[in-house]
Every structure is written in C-alpha cells, then in structure tokens.
C-alpha cells in the first residue's frame, strides 16, 4: 500500500482536469442533486459511491451534457463550460461508458465503435481502416471479439467490452465509467482494470461509478460519497475502509454483508436434475437441491448457468435429460407448465424479462397468479387484487408511494423485490435467482439475501446464479461450478475457496475428485 500512498501525494500536485462546484439539479418533484462538489485530477481514478437514487448517474449526465444543471459551475481544463449535448462533451474529450448499453444491434462491432466517426475516403467509409482501428481498440482491451460480428449476436458481457472499447477509441482526457463491471466476470473485470491502470499512467482522469466496493481497492485513488443527492465526503481511498464508505452511503453502519443463516440444510432431496442436455449449449447437467439449502451456480459468463435455468423453466428447449420434483418426474414444455409444477425463475435482466415496467406495482405482483385474484369467468376481483398486492409490499418491505406506481419509477432493489413477490404469490417449490443483486445497492442487497435465506428455511429449494464469487460463497451451502456447458465440480461451501472455484470454472476440472 505504500506505493499507493506515495502516488496520492504526487496526485495532490497533479493538474485538476474537471471541477464541479455547487452543482444542483431538480426534476419535477425530485431534488436529484443539491450543491454537489467534485473534482478530478489527471491520472487518477476517482470513484463515486452512493445507493441507487443517490444522484451518481445524474451527476455524470450533467458532466457529459445530457442534462443541464440548475445551479453551480463546471470547470473543465481551467475554463467554465456548459455542454448541451454529449457530442459537445465528447469533442472536448469527455467520454462516458453508460450503465445501460447504447449499442446498435444490427451494426457490426467495428461500426458501433466508430458510429458517427467513421474513417472516410471521400464520401465512402474506409472499411479497411475501420476494421483495423476497431481491432486495435479491442486488442488494447485484450478481448477476443471479431470486429465484423453483428452486435446483436454478442453476450451482455461482450457488449459491455465493446462499449468500453468505444469509449477508449475517443482518446478522452476524462473517462466516465458507470458500472462498467456489472455484467463482467472476475476475469474480464481484471482485464478492464489493467486497461484502467494503463490509462492512468498516460494521464487520463477516470470517474468510476460502481456498486462493487471490493473491486475498487485495485484501482481507485479517491472516493466521493453521495447520499440522497447530497455531497457527503471525499477521501483518499487508502485512508478509508470499505465499511466507512458503506455506512456513509446508507447513513448507518452495516455490520455484515451477508445475513446470519436461519436455514438448516437437510439431506432430503426435493429437486433433482439428471443428464440435462441441449446440444451445443450444455450437456449432461445433473444436480440435486436439498430441503433447506441454497445451491449456488458459479462459473464464467457464458458457461451455461442461465441457459440451464431457462431450460428447466421451459423458457428454452432441451434435448434430453430428466427433471424431478419430490421424486415425481416433470414434463416441462413451456414456462406455464414449469410454473404449474412449482418452479420459478427470476431472470437476470429484470427490465427486459421480469417486469412490465410501465404497469403498476400491484399488477406486476399478481401477474404470475391471476387465477388467485379472479373468479372462474376470468373477472378480476379488485379487492383480492389490491389485498394481494398490499400483502407482498408489506411482506417484502417494498418502498413505493402507492400500489398504482409504475414499477419503472422504483429503484432496482425494489423492482427485484417485486419480482420475488410475484413468484412468492405463486407459492413455488423451487426458485432460480439469476443475478438477483445486479445493479442493486448495498442495503437492498442485504434485504434480498435475507429473503432468500428465509425462503430456504421455509423449505423452498433455492438456486443462486451469480457472477460475483463472494456472493456465491457468502450465501450458498453448496456450489455447482460450470465450465463451457458442463458442471465440473459440486463443492461444499464450507470446504472450498474462491481459488478452488476459479480453478474449476476455468476448466481445469476434476483435480480434486
């Protein structure tokens, strides 16, 4: 750590690239930011931490010209600036990697990277230079993506890498990264960190927004905490603990990241999958879920964890294999038959697959079990509908102004709780949680972990699919490790380590068997 401290001293003298003073922004009815200060020096990584809704993304949208501030000043390279569009800020050397992916699916990787900045030869696009330049950007990141591939054929993680490559191609002096690792695996994140260190060395200032506080130690120099749109503090990262940051973010101290388990795993097998195969995607997948336990699915992005869960849920087909609940073999042809059988799947992409975001809270909560709130003619019983909605809002402590609030206006954590509530209302026997805490703030994560633990304690079989290894280790009782569509090991959490799991996940299989 001594090196970092020395670094910080040098940084104190470093040139200030960007300075925000007393910035405020108000949306109808919400004070998104009030009097926020922030500065970024050349060659540093400055992290912004805060819960969802704390104003991090709003602040960055102001810097990049998406929003105009209501008050305060922005000084860039020593001069006050007012950007009114991202084109202006990009031209000035500020690039932003958005949390939501902003790629055009039908264009190639190379075309996306240089969208609206294509190298030209006369009136025509210089395709050869385009490809060569794109390849150089990708190589610099160390990712193996063919620049001629269409973006829509890429995985989420690959899209994220393309976004990053796109931002790098701008040769920006200020680079803003909004949750760049949220869909990356450990390995890919390490690649990104290496690039970040290179950029630092070359004098680029990096604003780094992330929920993953653990990973920050590897790259971050200073950290600014925001809470409810207000500025809380700025510190050198090596002079503050992660716990301090978290307690400033939530305004209280968090003793632990994971709840004390209340469940007691038994040996009784409630759910069993044998030899499940989908050609070209996964093969010979076998695992059991025991009463009272949480089973983790670990593995790299694209190892087939989500695909297996979706096949069991009937969302995708499979070629062979059997699925049994309490010893009775199930015939699953589509999600409806899986739901009938008592299986629930909470998808990794909440907005795209889990919620009707324009619709109200209560409507989403009862969506998977309309029969329970309607009569035999299919007419909705409004009282039962409302009561069911209210029950799960109370039970899961969902923060919403009313039952008729459209879910898109709620935070990620509350949205996830709504999806959990939707499935609880069906009283499922088995629940697959696919990346349940992605993009969710620390406080809400803890609540979701607690809920999962309690569900397991009530005898519901829980499967946790997560790319965050600490989460899998902290929450599951046993862990099935996936590699390229196969389970390479099933480990007891108490007897394994992050290193051992990574070993199996990277394919060096059956060493310890």
């Amino acid at each position: 750590m001594g090196g970092v401290a020395a670094n910080a001293e040098i940084l104190d003298a470093a040139r200030v690239l960007l300075k925000l003073d007393g910035v405020s922004k108000e949306f109808p009815g919400v004070k998104a930011l009030s009097n926020v200060h922030f500065d970024l020096r050349a060659g540093e990584v400055h992290a912004i931490c805060g819960e969802n809704g704390a104003g991090k993304s709003t602040l960055m949208k102001i810097v990049s010209g998406v929003y105009q501030p209501d008050g305060g000043i922005i000084v860039y390279n020593g001069e006050p600036v007012k950007f009114t569009s991202t084109l202006q800020s990009e031209a000035a050397g500020i690039a932003i990697i958005h949390q939501e992916l902003n790629l055009v699916p039908h264009l190639s990787v190379a075309e996306n990277i240089y969208l609206a900045r294509e190298p030209r030869r006369g009136f025509l696009v210089d395709r050869r230079k385009l490809l060569a330049d794109a390849r150089r950007c990708l190589d610099r990141l160390g990712v193996d993506i063919d620049p001629t591939r269409q973006v829509r054929s890429l995985s989420v993680a690959q899209c994220q890498m393309v976004e990053i490559a796109k931002a790098l191609s701008l040769n920006a002096t200020v680079l803003i990264m909004d949750e760049p690792t949220s869909s990356l695996t450990e390995q890919e994140a390490q690649l990104l960190f290496r690039v970040i260190r290179d950029l630092k060395a070359s004098g680029t200032g990096i604003v780094y927004i992330s929920h993953r506080l653990d990973e920050m130690a590897a790259i971050v120099d200073r950290v600014t905490v925001l809470r409810d749109g207000r500025y809380i503090s700025t510190d050198n990262f090596n002079e503050i603990t992660v716990d301090d940051i978290v307690s400033r973010m939530v305004g209280r101290s968090l003793e632990e990241k994971f709840p004390e388990p209340t469940r007691t795993p038994t040996e009784e097998i409630v759910f069993s999958v044998k030899g499940l195969t989908r050609r070209g995607v996964f093969s010979d997948i076998s695992f059991d879920i025991r009463r009272g336990e949480i089973l983790g699915f670990a593995g790299l992005m694209g190892a087939g964890r989500t695909e297996v869960a979706r096949a069991i849920f009937g969302a995708d087909p499979f070629d062979s294999g059997s699925i049994a609940l309490n010893g009775n073999e199930l015939t699953i042809t589509d999600p409806r038959s899986a739901i009938e059988a008592g299986i629930a799947y909470l998808s990794e992409d909440r907005k795209a697959q889990g919620l009707a975001v324009k619709m109200p809270v209560d409507v989403n909560l009862v969506m998977a079990n309309m029969d329970a709130v309607s009569n035999s003619l299919g007419i909705i019983d409004r009282q039962r509908h409302r009561a069911a909605g209210q029950r799960y809002v109370d039970l899961l402590n969902i923060r919403t102004p009313s039952l008729s609030q459209p879910v898109r206006l709620l935070s990620g954590g509350n949205q996830q709780k709504i999806i959990i509530g939707k499935w609880l209302f069906r009283e499922p026997r088995i629940m697959f949680f696919d990346e349940p805490t992605r993009g969710i703030d620390v406080g809400a994560k803890f609540a979701i972990y607690q809920i999962m633990d309690e569900l397991a304690a009530r005898g519901i079989g829980i499967v946790l699919i997560s790319s965050e290894l600490p989460e899998v280790l902290g929450l599951s009782d046993r862990i099935a490790v996936f590699h390229e569509g196969r389970i390479t090991a099933t480990l007891k959490t108490s007897e394994t380590s992050q290193e051992e799991i990574m070993l199996y996940a990277s394919g060096r299989s059956r060493v310890g068997e």
Binding site: F27, P28, G29, V30, K31, A32, G53, R227, D228, G229, V250, G251, R252, F313, A315, P335, R336, I339, E340, Y345, S347, A352, Q353, G354, L355, A356, V357, K358, M359, P360, V363, M367, A368, M370, D371, S374, L377, G378, I379, I380, R382, D394, L395, L396, N397, R399, P401, S402, S404, Q405, P406, L409, K422, G443, A444, F446, A447, Q450, I451, E454
Partner: protein, 345 residues
C-alpha cells in the same frame, strides 16, 4: 417474514410526479376537452349543428370508426397493428349480401356469415402473426389486399343491390323513435330515436372496456404490450392472447361491414377503403400508444367522436373535403405531439 425490515432512511420519494393513472385521466380530459371545444365552436358557427337530429347523424357516422377503433385499440395495445379492417369489412358486407341474395338465406343468417367472415380473417391474421411470426404490419397488409381482392372477385366488382327493405333494418332502424300524426295525417317525429348502429357501438364499447379493465384476459393484453418476454416468463399464453386481439378486430370489422351495407341497403366491394387509418387515428387521438401497453376504449371512442365532429362541423361550414383531410391530419399530429410532451422527462 415481516421481520425483514431494513432501517433505511426514506429514499428521495418522488412526490408530485404524476402517476400514470393521473396522466391517464388528464389525457382523457384533454381529449374530451377538445371534443367539447370543437362542439362549442361549431355550435356558434352553424345553427344546425347543435340539434338532436345532427347529434344522431354524427353518432351514426362515428359508429364505423368507433367499432373499428375498438378492435384497433385491442391490437395496438399488444404492440401490433391491423391494416386489414377496411378490406375485411367490405368482404364481410358482400358475403352477407350474397348469402341473402344468391343463396336466399334469412337476413340474420346472412349477417352472421358476414361477421364470421370477419372473424375468420382475424383468425388468419392472428395465425400469421403468432405462428408464422410475420410482423403485424406485413401480415395485415397482405390480408388487406387479399380480402379486397376476394370481395371484388366474388361480386365481379359490382355492387350487390336489390336486397329488400328488411336488409336495411339494422343500419337504418332506431330505438325509442317517437312519431305522431298531425292534423293532415302527416307523421311528426318528436324524437328521431337512437339508431341501432349507435346502440350497438355503445354496448360493444362498454363490453370491450370492461373486458380490458376487469378481466384477466384484458390484463394479459396490456402485459403483452408492455413486455411480451416478461409476460411469457410469467406464464401468459402470449400466442393465444395476441391472436385473440386480431380475432376481435376482424370480428368487429365484419360487424361494421354488415352495418354499413345495411345502411346503404347495397353491398359495395369498394366500401371502407382507408377506414383502417381512421380506426388507428381514433385510437391514437384517444391516447393509445403504438409502442403498446397503453390505451383505453373510452379514449378511442372520444377519438372517434373528435374525427366525426370535425368532419360533420366542417361540412356544415362548407369546408371542402380536401381541407378537411388537412385539418384532421394536423389534429392527429398535434394530439400525439402533446401526448409525447407529457410523457417526456
């Protein structure tokens, strides 16, 4: 699990921001308000506008747009579109007329066949959209050409007339018509009655509105338009529900065809050209979003009346048909623009 409570400071709760329900009400009143303004303006400019007779005329003229608009609303809420209704109504009308004239079937059976023809077109649209997975625009564009072609083919492109007085009953009769005879024995109409088509539209609009709002099927229609993937993963039979909306649209087109032909007591294979656009326009003016997930029947009925009153009032003021088109086009643009402004953040 009540003990899962996390002491967390209250989030920046987004007060003051309008809920969608409130927006919905504003939207409805905005459309309704413009309807009232239109009526007021026309009442001033033309003395004949605000009369019971003219009111019934407008209502009668609005029925076809209204009925088609209800079907269009169902389809558009799922995120689809139905371009075939104008042609389907012509086909349905000539099928009903031919069944009566050529096959000698009773009128009500002829009409039923006409309506079922519309349903059949809807079934095919639904099949092509959900099973063959063609984009709704293309699927119903194909049906639009096919249905029109069949209608022209089976009639030899000639109008089917000589259908008899009673074929006109559905289109020209009315409920609660009061007449009396004066001193010379001439009939005096004290109340013109509510035309059957208007009664039909009111009943169907109420039924369709209740179905959308109060039933599981209606809820699924919104859910599919809002997020088809989420709906499927929640166990909704997306295929069947989507197909259902096309069947509703086709059936209502069939019914509209029968009503129109009955009003003219003649079946025209060229009837209803471009009616699908009026139907879509009424839905859109009434606040239905072409992206799907949003829309109400009451809005669509108001939208249909906005178009109907505009046409009627402009006619009375001697505005040419060409100018009318321009004005209605502008009204569509402005209403949707206002809607966009409200939803923009």
């Amino acid at each position: 699990m009540a003990e899962i409570t996390n002491e967390k400071p209250p989030e920046a709760v987004q007060v003051n921001r309008l809920s969608d329900r409130q927006k919905d009400i504003i939207q409805k009143f905005a459309a309704f308000g413009s309807l009232v303004v239109l009526a007021a303006v026309f009442s001033i400019t033309s003395s004949a506008f605000l009369t019971v007779n003219n009111g019934m005329t407008i209502a009668l003229q609005v029925t076809s747009i209204g009925l088609l608009g209800i079907g269009a609303t169902y389809v558009i809420i799922t995120g689809g579109i139905d371009l075939s209704v104008g042609s389907v109504l012509a086909l349905a009308g000539v099928v009903a007329a031919l069944a009566v004239k050529e096959l000698g079937l009773p009128i009500w059976i002829g009409m039923l066949l006409g309506i079922l023809t519309g349903s059949a077109c809807g079934v095919i649209n639904g099949f092509v959209v959900t099973r063959l997975r063609l984009p709704p625009f293309i699927a119903t564009l194909g049906m639009m050409l096919i249905a029109r072609g069949v209608a022209l083919q089976i009639t030899g492109a000639r109008a089917v007339s000589g259908l008899g007085e009673s074929f006109g009953e559905l289109g020209n009769g009315s409920l609660f018509r009061f007449e009396s005879l004066d001193d010379q024995g001439f009939p005096v109409v004290s109340f013109p009655g509510i035309p059957y088509p208007v009664v039909l539209m009111i009943v169907i609009a109420i039924a369709a509105g209740l179905m959308l709002n109060r039933t599981v099927l209606g809820r699924y229609i919104y859910a599919i338009g809002s997020n088809a993937d989420a709906a499927r993963l929640s166990g909704v039979n997306v295929t069947r529900v989507t197909a259902f909306t096309y069947i509703v649209s086709g059936t209502l087109a069939g019914l509209t065809g029968c009503v129109l032909m009955s009003r003219l007591v003649t079946a025209q294979p060229n009837e209803g050209v471009a009616y699908e656009l009026d139907a879509i326009a009424s839905a859109v003016i009434g606040g239905t979003s072409l992206i799907g997930g949003v829309g109400t029947i009451s809005g669509t009925v108001i939208g249909a009346f906005v178009i109907g009153i505009l046409r009627n009032g402009l006619n009375m003021n001697g505005v040419s048909a060409f100018t009318q088109q321009i004005i209605i086009g502008l009204v569509i643009l402005v209403t949707v623009w206002i809607d966009q402004l409200r939803n923009r953040r």
